[in-house]
Each structure stands twice: as structure tokens, then as C-alpha cells.
Symmetry: C2
Subunit: 412 residues, 2 copies
């Protein structure tokens, strides 16, 4: 018997195979993150290691009969095949990082329990996406700027073809201004790193909304709808929102917070990994990781501390492509896309460790030294320090300083 | 003898008169902020109370002979009178908050000395600005999107008519993409709150760059120049930049940090003011103040704590105009300007005080209780906690939690 003999009533019977290195957070639906040290190795995350975040079973869609429906306020209805998209519109490739809102939820959960997937710091990845601008498709359907200015159209809703057994499908929306902004580069993408979209990433078509939380990058995209209203979906209305720490499941008012769209500046230490043991001979720790900010902002500085933020070492910023983040230092607004940077920045820092520090760690802290990181973006937003003040009901958008423990005990 | 008999060699002999309530930080050049409790009283700051930030003596310009020069890469040279600007282009009014980069520098200086004006939290104000879009003027001069895409034009430089005795005049620049973005609403403004620009605010014309630090809103605007390069001025290159706390005047590398443009989320408690004495009968403190974020982001939440951030009270958000920030809660991207909010938000919070807290404050802390505030914006960026980690050479962009002490000692 092979795995494919699962009974056909299991909606997860036809899931694709996945890379064995992924850390599985949930099997059904499939949610998994790559190991952090692997994540920090490449500017472009390979497709099979890119974090997977599915809300429902993976649908299997025939690309030959697939039709995207485009409809709603201010537009005529269009039905577009993949071939229509690929031949009737100009193609664009955008390098964009995607993060799950729940990235780093596990740290918050350690403080106080949170319902939800217990992500580490690996629910973020970066890829090159190829497709057409959503803007061009909306304009082809007749959407006019007057419709938008008059507010009869305020949102663009995306409906996925991933559905539960009761027929509820994934959905989300973005503001129409973002969809129409040329510099926003919102894509309908069919390629990921030069390959057709993998099944786990929305084959045959997904929305790519650069600088915006992953939940709006709707996969297995079936319908695009303009509307005066946001998507009414659970995931737009009652999930991806953040509240003050005292809001709990008994008193939450979902209408009191905006749906998460652009995400704040964030960073993580990917190497060394948590509780790694260092040689006590080392007089420095070499740390590396990622930093990213939503909304097209660039990362301008990353800093690492081995003394709880008392002193900071400035990291060197790296990247896969010369035209990307390194230019921030002299001209933060001019990336490859002309105006905005959608991709993360890898960084590396050397943090000196004195013999005194190590001796003190062994004596007072069971050999543990804490490293923390913070990033500063091109609007000079930076990360809050306190995890406790960051805690929120859904455990979303944790961008407190990322902290790991390294072990300098002498075990020989 | 009147004040006007000052010898004519004093470049500050012809300064305008100013409102007596202003707290003067520097007399020559004139820099002053309004009292915080006054600042929190009105959504629109009256012109005479709007913070004044001059780098040089106030120039006196004859509006009848005034000509704006528009020149540079990719454009024909234009010379425009005020009447040309007012009659040849469509007029727009934008409500925009301006902050000095040095707002709240005083708090950082208390930690470790900083050269510079010792601003409190009042170097921020909000006004309605009327003028024409810079975009429309650049397009009229023939600037083409192709020039910009080809990177022969990357910046728009502004030159002020305020100069020192050696002939060096104020100057700054912004990225050309921002200048050309319709949604960016960059203005050449001649009116402030319906009145001609006051002398202190740039009469007869100033640049208004919504969401961007005050230093780029060049006053007494004489020339606009497109260029592949940023402004070479001291204020663009060697002043309005931020560094890690360990950078000092001995090791600063000015090219290592980008010029400040968009500013981070910030907030302050305006009432009660520092060290105010409360009645010990009070079982709550009613606090009010402002919150603002640059780059067109909206403020979505403001929180006040009386226990160092252990618990937070959510403030109610107020505003002068119904169409402004209150809509953030349901739809953060749709303000009056269609896409972005440029104005601050006033807030008010009631923070409960228990008898135990007050007794403890009297016993252990000389009767002092500390209030702190933080704001969260529509990209869910929020403010860092630690003032020490915020410290930087020039003391700019301090957006650490704002803290004040109130006094609950029983003095009777
Ligand atoms: Mo997510
Ligand atoms: Mo300033």
C-alpha cells in the first residue's frame, strides 16, 4: 500500500510532496518553515524550501481549462485564460519577500498561550515572481480612476479556489489605491523563481502584493472583484488583526482594528541557532540573519547586541543582487523597481565576547549569553524591545527584538 | 529707541514679531515651540503658535517681483511668478503635519549631551497648506517619466532664499519618485490655514512634502532643480541623519546613513505636563496628546501606561475633521486624500490609579508616577521602548515611548 491509498473522503488525500528539511507546524492544512540557517544562506529562497502557509487543502486546477474571473463595481466582467494573461498584457518580474503575519508567534506563545500555528522565525521567504500587473488587468476591465475617486470602488477582493467541504473558500482584499499604483507592482503571477508556481504556492495563479502581509497574496486565484467593501472573509475580518495585550477572546471587538496590510520592520538571527554551543575559545560570535520592512521601505541598518541592548554592533548588509538593498545607504528610495524595495536584506555581524563576559555567563547564567537583533528601515522605524508589550490575541506581527541564547559552557 | 534701531549689520535685525507663549529654544536663528497643552487643544495649529524652525535669518522677499526658478536635468528652465503659479496650475489644499527631526531631542540630551537645539515634544504642528502640486510644475517644465526611469533624474533639489553672510543658503532635496507621485501630494504652497504664509513659515512660497521630515519642506523657496544627485547642502549631507548610539563626533561617517526623509511613528503626552501635581483624591489620570506617523501612514491605536508598560489603556482617537483619522479603524488607507493620511491624530485616555499605587508612589518614589505613551500606525509599526537605544549623535527622530512624571504627593 502506498500513501495514495488514503480514502478519497480525506480532503488532504492529494497533497503534493514536500522537502524533508521543512519543519512542519501543521500537516493538514500544510504549514511548514525552512530551517533558519538554510533560510539565511540564499537571497532567493528555493521554491521547495520557501515557507508553506496553507489554510485549506491544496486544490488541483487544470491549467488548460483555468479561467480567472474579473468582475465588480466599475468594470465589465472578464474571463481570462492563463494564455490571455500571458499574451495580452506586459509581463513583469518582481523580487518580493513574503512573510506570514504569524512569523515569530512561538516567542509570544512562550510568554502566554496563543491559539494558532506556532511559527518560529522562518515564516518568511524571498522569491522572484513573474506575471502581469493587477493594475493593467483592472484597467483592461474598464476600471476608471473616477470610480475610485468617487469611492464606489475602494477595495479589490481576491477569491481563492482552495475551499473547505462546506464550500467556504479562502479570500482577502487590498485597498484599490494600492492595486492601481504603478509603483505598487501588485502582480498576478504564474512563475516563482522562473518555474511554474508549485502546487503549494498557488498553481496556476496567485496574487503577489509586495510589502504586504502574506495573507493578502491569495493563491489558486479564481476571482478578482472590485467593491466598496473589504473582503467579508474570516481571514480579512476576524483573523489577521492586532490588539492591545489585554484584549482576549472574551472581549475582542474585531471591528476595532484594521486588517493587517503593510507590515512593520522586522529581523531575526538565523545563525547561530537557539542554544547552539560555542567554543569558549571564541572571542567573538559571528551572527547572520535577515531583516525586512513592509510597504516598500528599505532596511538601512541592522544591529546586534550581546548585552541586552546596552551596546550594539552594526551588521554589514548583504544581498543577492547588486542593484538591491546595498544602495540604501546612499539612496534608500532607488531600488531596481524605481521607487521601492520589496526584498529582504541578509546581514552579518561580529559581536566581540570578552573573557569576563563568558566567565560571568558561566557563573551567573548557566553558561548562556543572549544575542538580540534590531533593524532600522528607511523611514527610521525600528523594532520595539519588549515581547510582553507586543503580545496580542492572535500572536501576529511580532517584531520585538529577536533574541537567542548561545551556550559558552565549557563541557570538556 | 525702538527695537528696529538694531544696527543694520545684524542679520537678525528684521525678524518678525512672535507670539509670547512660544518657548524660545534659540533666538538667532529663531527656533521655538508652543506649550504642549496648547498644542493638544486644536487639530489645526494656529499660524502664530505653529512651531518655528529657522536655520538662518528670515529673508524679506517682495512678492511682486518674486520669481521661482525651475531648472535642471530633463527640463527646460521656467521662471514663475506667484501669479503664474496661482493662475496656470490647479490649486490643492492638503492638511499635513510637520515635525522637526529634533523633536524630543531634549530627552536624549538628558541621557547624554547632544549638540543641537534642545527641543521638547512641541517641535511638531499641523496646518492646511494651499498651493499647486510640484508634480504639475515639473511636468510643465517638460520632465518626462523616461528621464526618471533612466535615472538621469533621481532627486528634486530645493534652494531657499535664506542665506548666511557668506552666501550659503538653505537647501534640501527629495527623491524624484516622491515628487512625481500624484498620491504624494508634494505642494508648492503660498497659504497656511487660509492666510498668506507668515514670514517665519517661508513667505511667499515653501515646499510642503507630506509625511516627510520638516527639513525638506524648504521655506522661502527660490529654486527647484532636478538632478541625478541629492542636494549637496550641509543639511542634506551632514546633519539630518541618524546612527547607532556608539557613533560619536570622532568617528562619524556621514555617508553611511541615508538622509532622513519619511519619519517613523511617534506620540507624546501633552497634558498633564511634566511634574504636574494631581489631587490624591483622583482615581484616574486623564491624559491627552498627539500621535503621528510619516509616509502617509495612519495612527490606528494609542496606548498609555502608568506602570512602565506592564498594562496599557487604549486611548480614544480624536480629530478635527470627521473624514480624517477615525476612519482608520475600518479602512486605514482611505483618508480624505484618497490614499494616505498626512495629519496627526489627537487622543485622550483615562488611566486608573489605585490607592495602593498612589501610596506606593509616595512611599517609594517621592510621590512620582510615570506615565508613558506609544502609538501604533497602519503598518503596525510601533515605538521602541528604550531611550538609551534610541540615542544618536544628532539626537534626531526620537520616537521612544514618551514618558512624563506626575506628582501625587499630598502637600496639604
Ligand atoms: Mo499568514
Ligand atoms: Mo528640523
Amino acid at each position: 500500500y502506498s500513501a495514495s491509498t488514503t480514502t478519497s473522503t480525506d480532503p488532504y488525500a492529494k497533497e503534493p510532496s514536500r522537502h524533508p528539511s521543512l519543519r512542519v507546524i501543521s500537516a493538514k492544512p500544510f504549514n511548514a518553515e525552512p530551517p533558519l540557517d538554510v533560510l539565511a544562506d540564499t537571497f532567493i529562497t528555493p521554491n521547495d524550501l520557501f515557507f508553506k502557509r496553507n489554510h485549506l487543502p491544496v486544490p488541483h486546477i487544470d491549467p488548460n481549462t483555468y479561467m480567472l474571473e474579473v468582475e465588480g463595481e466599475g468594470m465589465q466582467t472578464l474571463r481570462l485564460s492563463l494564455r490571455d494573461l500571458q499574451t495580452k498584457f506586459r509581463q513583469h518580474t518582481v523580487t518580493a519577500t513574503i512573510t506570514c503575519a504569524g512569523n515569530r508567534r512561538g516567542e509570544l506563545n512562550d510568554l502566554k498561550e496563543i491559539k494558532g500555528l506556532q511559527w518560529g522565525a522562518g515564516a518568511i521567504s524571498n522569491a522572484e515572481w513573474t506575471g502581469v500587473y493587477l493594475r493593467d488587468v483592472l484597467l483592461a476591465a474598464g476600471l476608471s480612476v473616477d470610480q475610485v475617486r468617487g469611492y464606489s470602488v475602494r477595495h479589490v477582493q481576491f477569491e481563492g479556489l482552495d475551499c473547505d467541504m462546506a464550500g467556504t473558500c479562502y479570500g482577502a482584499s487590498i485597498p484599490v489605491q494600492q492595486a492601481l499604483d504603478e509603483a505598487g507592482e501588485v502582480l498576478l503571477a504564474w512563475k516563482m523563481n522562473g518555474q511554474p508556481l508549485p502546487l503549494d504556492h498557488g498553481f496556476p495563479l496567485r496574487a503577489i502584493v509586495p510589502g504586504t502581509v502574506g495573507a493578502r497574496h491569495v493563491k489558486w486565484l479564481g476571482r478578482i472583484k472590485t467593491s466598496p467593501h473589504e473582503s467579508g472573509s474570516h481571514w480579512q475580518q476576524k483573523d489577521y488583526k492586532s490588539f492591545t495585550p489585554s484584549v482576549d477572546w472574551g472581549n475582542v471587538d474585531w471591528t476595532s482594528a484594521p486588517a493587517i496590510q503593510q507590515v512593520p520592520v522586522n529581523s531575526a538571527i538565523c545563525d547561530p541557532t537557539q542554544n547552539v554551543q560555542l567554543s569558549v575559545q571564541d572571542s567573538e560570535i559571528v551572527a547572520k540573519g535577515y531583516a525586512w520592512s513592509g510597504g516598500g521601505a528599505s532596511v538601512v541598518r541592522v544591529e546586534v547586541s550581546a548585552d541586552g541592548g546596552h551596546t550594539w554592533q552594526v551588521a554589514s548588509l548583504k544581498q543577492g543582487q547588486a542593484s538591491l538593498p546595498n544602495q540604501h545607504n546612499t539612496d534608500p528610495w532607488n531600488g531596481t523597481s524605481g521607487a521601492r524595495n520589496w526584498a529582504w536584506t541578509h546581514w552579518q555581524a561580529s559581536v566581540p565576547l570578552t573573557a569576563d563576559q563568558k566567565a560571568k555567563a558561566v557563573k551567573e547564567n548557566n553558561g548562556k549569553i543572549e544575542l538580540c537583533v534590531r533593524a532600522i528601515d528607511s523611514s527610521y522605524n525600528s523594532q520595539p524591545e519588549s515581547l510582553a508589550s507586543m503580545w496580542n490575541l492572535r500572536g501576529v506581527l511580532n517584531n520585538a527584538w529577536h533574541r537567542i541564547q548561545v551556550d559558552v559552557k565549557n563541557d570538556d
